[in-house]
Symmetry: C2
Subunit: 472 residues, 2 copies
Amino acid sequence: MKNTELNSYLYETIAAGFTQQILSAVLITGDKLPSVREICRQYKVSMSTALQAYYLLESKSLIRSVPKSGYYVSYTPQTNALPNQSNPSLYIGNENTSDIVSKVYDGISSDHIMLSLGVPAAALLPLPKLNKALTHALHTLNENGSGYEHVLGNPKLRRQIARLSSSWGGKLTENDIITTAGCTGAMLQAIIALTKTGDTIAVESPVYFGILQLALSLGLKVLELPTHPETGIEIEALKTALRKNKISLCLLISNFSNPMGGTMPAEHKKEVVRLIEHYHIPLLENDMYGDLYFGHDRPVNCKTFDESGLVILCSSVSKTLAPGYRVGWLTPGKFSAQIRQVKFAAAISSTTLTQEAVADFLERGRYESHLKKLRTTLNHNCLNYMEAISKYFPGETKVSRPQGGFMLWVELDAKVNTARLYDQTIKRNISFAPGRMFTLQNQYNNCLRLSYGLPWTDQINHAIKTIGSLIR
Amino acid sequence: MKNTELNSYLYETIAAGFTQQILSAVLITGDKLPSVREICRQYKVSMSTALQAYYLLESKSLIRSVPKSGYYVSYTPQTNALPNQSNPSLYIGNENTSDIVSKVYDGISSDHIMLSLGVPAAALLPLPKLNKALTHALHTLNENGSGYEHVLGNPKLRRQIARLSSSWGGKLTENDIITTAGCTGAMLQAIIALTKTGDTIAVESPVYFGILQLALSLGLKVLELPTHPETGIEIEALKTALRKNKISLCLLISNFSNPMGGTMPAEHKKEVVRLIEHYHIPLLENDMYGDLYFGHDRPVNCKTFDESGLVILCSSVSKTLAPGYRVGWLTPGKFSAQIRQVKFAAAISSTTLTQEAVADFLERGRYESHLKKLRTTLNHNCLNYMEAISKYFPGETKVSRPQGGFMLWVELDAKVNTARLYDQTIKRNISFAPGRMFTLQNQYNNCLRLSYGLPWTDQINHAIKTIGSLIR
């Protein structure tokens, strides 16, 4: 039975209601849930729909069934406080952190438990189907995919990306899209097209370290703005920054941001679009995590409200399908001519084979069902990782509460230095991302980012326990 | 029988001697060659070696056998004069040519005879073996190649590239190499690392239009220097430019340059290295065509003479194996830290699967034998294309005489405008690259670049005839 209004099934609606009650601690561990029969009566649904709702909650480890007794809540949200809203200085920092970035990412070894990695584990990816798509591409593409693509990118892929845009209220066509080598390639090309050496860009703080490295490489100044762990960049701070500074570009990860996990409320997104229109400044919006929502609906993005073409949306399949395929895209909006020239000059062509493989995977409708599974797993991981942190880390530890994506931002006692902590954990083959990587200022030294892209296992539990004991 | 001194076979040495006599018109069409028996006596070789030498010359269409009579020269070099040494103005041009670049490259259609394409036809590529290598990569790579590579690139690929460096006298190790998305990705990353908006780079003129588009995208000024169709950039002009201007980077295609086809003599290369050391300016050397030599030996490059680490060599397999695989590399030299940071920020990882496929292909020793065949075919194409131009284009037409690569630079009467000529030829489904694309100044309007990467056929002959008649 399909509730077409909400584009989801009734059992999901029922499960979502209980999820919210559990996550807000209205229902806590040990509470008994209504019987399946009561659910049928209350929601006017069939027995199988009621059971499906409970199975879904079980799969997320929120409830458990006790034979011959019924269903009980098995999860109570961690009691860690939220990290503080960040408060970066408004001076332009320029303390390069590439040393620490190298330290964390160069020594990658298969022995390590990589809680530092910003990609989902291969176990969560649909590899057999992707391999099939790649083999299909190899055999069906003209010249076996050895040649260049059109400069704008694979037309089938662009059509599929356009189709998927309806999930956030977009009405893109294939002509609104240029493909790129991952979201990194998209950000690179847009930034090259829209800035020059010495320009200032405004970003969240903490901000994904790749953005900082990119800005430094291109000789840009980075204005880091106060950011809230739940609602993202502070609108008032952005407003002041735009009024007082000459900003060439705003760059935001609007949903389930990396690293802090916040999602800008729709009204904030609308307001940001209004602001950049007022100041006539392009917004580069990275919505790479938007499809990985735990809630009922996919959040919108700023592009949803864009009528001027000033919002350049970029995304990829690097967080959902295959990082190593290097498949990403952007919507150049009103900067179409400039960005197209940069794509040609900076890349000529994307990798023909992997673009076609992803296009094929999407065209067969495999993406949606994969995402559904991936979201459930990540949500489950998130809850388990948070519970372990609450159990093993000191009581004053603050932890973000992301509603999607796969990053936790952890704020420790001010005395803890996570760069030094890293030197300890890596000796035990455990890697995480020290907070200092996510800023060009001297801050977040007591913070760290943990990715929950690795499936929840005893080994992970033990790794978090180890980090916790090293902190103490 | 192997002549190890020269690292080639005796039959090749014998054939090379005749090739030189034919190309310099010492022997002309109809001249009878020594009998196979005489060759055996003269060179003290076996009958089969003598025959192999003649077979090689036949395969290049330089000689033909007349049954029961012997071997005869079947080729006399074209009589077209060489194009003039270029004489660009020393003012910094900034007339963007992206309109004309778009015109030529956007409307690519499989119906067109693409004499404009700077890549070899798929028919010249070892596709079945590449497909095998790709399938092998898919099945042997960790996580089916869905994950990121190490930031420096696939170690096996870097080892193979290091191994091949001995062909130009290099002694690279895998640690001297960073892989990139094609040579374009290599140039992009090096230029980002070593320049900032407003800086000036010195290049040949005419210069590959992708370099101009890249420079414009990054806000760089381009100093175009006089260039000779046989010996490349004029050393005296470069010397003066370095003395009089603040140059941040020199960028040269030192062997079989695109588009003019010149190869800098070894002593010029040595002198360029001395000059950049004197002024302490990095040289970005693109040697993408160096393996496609028609002569006896691979030419050296500037990197061969580099002791300071100021020469950043870049190359790719886009002109020899598979453009769409996006496999290239560079040697960062003394700029290792900067370029590595840019690679991380601008790409994170190359496409994992295609890098491994190329590594596998090289490791199996398939590259050398493929290159040998490819060189013979391109040499054969080159001679046929030149002959057709000499036959069908007006007598005053000047044509370059490349000793490798696959580009011909054609200079027509000053009154001919090749951008307008293009509008005519494209109506007949024939595409070439108008000369105006290769400069930011108002010059080369009467020039064009023809690629001979397409196998020689009646259709190509007819296409060149059509261009010729449209010129007249």
